[in-house]
């Protein structure tokens, strides 16, 4: 049962679902543990690109390079989609036939920009590389389906490569795979 103390304290974390360096224990109400220190930056779930002075194994380097290439392709696909969205919105502005369609175009562009920003974070998490500027503008009507296909393919490849990557790189690839899978519903 829930205690008054728990209710008074508001929305308390379920200890077993919150991160901390020590093994978490789900605790009964009213027996909150002391605050844990923040997670260590080098813990498995926050694996970052190799710090200066360290290096990937040859296998990891190849896997990381492939992941960088996938993210660059996704960025290029979003850039192309955004160029197409801007062109379409401009055409609607001059036509002014359907303000609702113009709003939809703007909302689409906002969504695409946010998802693109997440891919830029992915690229940074992998240790860099510049976004590619290749990619042709997609035809109107096919933008989301093409982006969904690209996201799905990248997610599958990241997940596959995570299986054999080092313990440092695997969580990064897993996070990318999960993020890109979550993009599928956002683009639906």
């Amino acid at each position: 049962m829930l205690t008054a103390g728990a209710l008074a304290a508001g929305l308390l974390p379920l200890a077993a679902c919150t991160r901390g360096p020590a093994a978490p224990q789900a605790r009964p109400a009213g027996t909150r543990p002391p605050q844990s220190p923040p997670p260590q930056s080098g813990s498995p779930g926050t694996a970052a690109p190799p710090a200066s002075g360290s290096a990937d194994s040859a296998a990891d380097a190849a896997v990381r390079a492939a992941a960088v290439a996938r993210e660059q392709e996704l960025l290029a696909a979003y850039d192309a989609a955004l160029r197409g969205s801007a062109r379409d919105t401009g055409a609607q502005d001059t036509g002014a036939q359907d303000p609702g369609a113009r709003d939809t175009g703007a909302a689409d562009a906002g969504l695409l920009r946010r998802l693109r920003a997440e891919h830029a974070e992915h690229l940074a998490a992998l240790g860099g590389g510049q976004p590619s500027r290749t990619g042709s503008p997609p035809s109107r009507g096919g933008t989301r389906s093409r982006l969904r296909a690209a996201e799905r393919a990248a997610a599958q490849a990241h997940a596959r490569d995570a299986l054999g990557a080092s313990r440092q790189l695997a969580p990064v690839l897993a996070a990318l795979a999960a993020a890109e899978t979550s993009h599928l519903e956002a683009l639906a």
């Binding site: 728990a6 304290a9 379920l14 200890a15 605790r27 997670p39 998490a125 956002a186």
Partner: protein, 140 residues
């Protein structure tokens, strides 16, 4: 942390998530309540799977606690708790990914992390966030 410890931690987290969904689901109107039921079912299935893995390793299976420290005042708080539950699970699943070299356990970790990330994004959208996704789920 050993693989058994990681699995035990995940079972404990799933117990807490299941409890949390029981509390928060009651505060949600339909259709969100049905979505919470489905999420609860998914967590129960993962818990059972994890417990089986522990039994296969002849390891002790953590029991659920009688009560967890959680309070939900209304629908919005319920949705917020649901996001936090899934974010917490994502962290735990990614700990498994980084804590094992066994491909089967890695695959399980990736699947669990992905489920949690997708479900968290759904709850964030229910709270009004668009697109509701985060760049690096399970990385804290």
């Amino acid at each position: 942390m050993s693989e058994v410890d990681l699995l035990r931690t995940l079972v404990e987290a799933e117990h807490a998530a299941i409890y949390g969904y029981g509390v928060l689901g009651a505060r949600l109107p339909e259709p969100a309540r049905q979505a919470a039921r489905e999420a609860d079912d998914a967590h129960r299935a993962r818990r059972d799977q994890l417990e089986a893995l522990l039994r296969d390793r002849r390891a002790e299976v953590p029991a659920t606690q009688a009560v967890y420290d959680v309070a939900v005042s209304g629908p919005r708080a319920a949705l917020t708790l649901a996001v936090r539950l899934e974010e917490g699970m994502a962290l735990r699943w990614n700990d498994l990914v980084g804590g094992t070299d066994q491909r089967a356990l890695r695959a399980l970790g990736i699947a669990g992390l992905t489920e949690a990330a997708v479900q968290a994004a759904r709850w964030r959208r229910a709270l009004g966030s668009r697109p509701g996704t985060v760049a690096l789920p399970g990385t804290g």
